[in-house]
Subunit: 257 residues, 2 copies
Amino acid sequence: MNETLKIINNRRSVRAYTSQPVTDSEKELILNAAFRSPTAGGLMLYSVIDIADQGLKDKLATSCDHQPFIAKAPYVLLFLADYQRWFDYFNLSNVEPRAKELNRPFRHPQSGDLLLACCDALIAAQTAVIAAESIGIGSCYIGDILENYEYHRELFNLPPYTLPITMVCFGHPTESALRRKLTLRLPREGLVHQDKYRRLDADKLKTVFTDMETQFIAGVHAPEITNAGQDVFFRKFTADFAIEMNRSVNKMLENWR
Amino acid sequence: MNETLKIINNRRSVRAYTSQPVTDSEKELILNAAFRSPTAGGLMLYSVIDIADQGLKDKLATSCDHQPFIAKAPYVLLFLADYQRWFDYFNLSNVEPRAKELNRPFRHPQSGDLLLACCDALIAAQTAVIAAESIGIGSCYIGDILENYEYHRELFNLPPYTLPITMVCFGHPTESALRRKLTLRLPREGLVHQDKYRRLDADKLKTVFTDMETQFIAGVHAPEITNAGQDVFFRKFTADFAIEMNRSVNKMLENWR
């Protein structure tokens, strides 16, 4: 197995960082790699906010579902789906009067543009994560940045045609963070479909979720929760943060209609 | 620069493939790597359709904005944001009656769950792309899979809580595909913001888009298009495929409201 595959296959999310800073030249390598990522039509429909201010990190540690380690991350990047830059450039390029003259349509960014911009942003984020890993810097995605849109919009001055799609904390991992067991993955048969999607029936679902069920039984859980499906449903899918995430994203989408 | 960074920094999208097949063990390496990607809460909110059937590839070459090379790609993976598997497992786990007994809320997947699932799917896709690159296999993203939702839904049997967020064509690159010039990227100052988003004013926009403007001037374009902003606006942003993509995505989002 080559170095890159080893890096990918041995990666675990890192939430505990040593006091060693992420240097400017390390940041440079990570960002340069991210910006070479494939991007739809070469348009780079994303931006990155480099969050160095400790006050901002402290706030994010609260607003992103109360995860104190965010405040201690040496390097934090917020990835935005971003059509604002291009839309502003369109306006600067007089596209609206030109469209009128040419009798062609004018329009604003919409939900399809948004999903394409999310693709760009996430492809860049994962490239940054793998690049960081290759120089010994661990990382953890913060999906909770999808919550509390109005608060984050204010905090980061986000214009309408941007959307905070993900955030990544980076830092040199502690010894124990490196030794953490690799987390469970669903088996291949539940993830790959040949030529057409084949919805899993009850038997197949049971097979695919066997390891999760085993892990659930071995773990600690509230007495009223009797299986792994209920565990995820109550602890994640209908938890306060998930309800908030859906409210927040619904609000974000209003700009793209 | 280490091997992984070299791979990332030298990658170009590959649309021309040799007749050398992608072997089963190569596919195995690519998928194994993808499935080790970070995933929100360990839930793996995505699926992959391995499209081997030539008839399907031929259809995609038409439905994804008429790109004949798709039909010639040795290995094609469709990445779906997928909450269907978990939602079916929730139902199998009797979450709805249990929620009623416990006086807790029941809900269906919504737009926030969708964006989180898109994160998972795209993180896995980019991991697959980098893994492939590391074993000499080139790739090209097909963002146009966001178009013609109803047609693709039928073609791949997609249930409501799945969304085809991206597709990737893989294959061994031809000599000329490998020699293709690296495509242009916007300069750092247009992409990275320190602590807060700073919208680019006219002067900054001009600076950031200078290379694009130079490339536009050097290229071939319709006489009625007078600058790079108009070029992208008319040739991409308001092209038929972009209008269709937004219609299609709007339709997709209906399932997640």
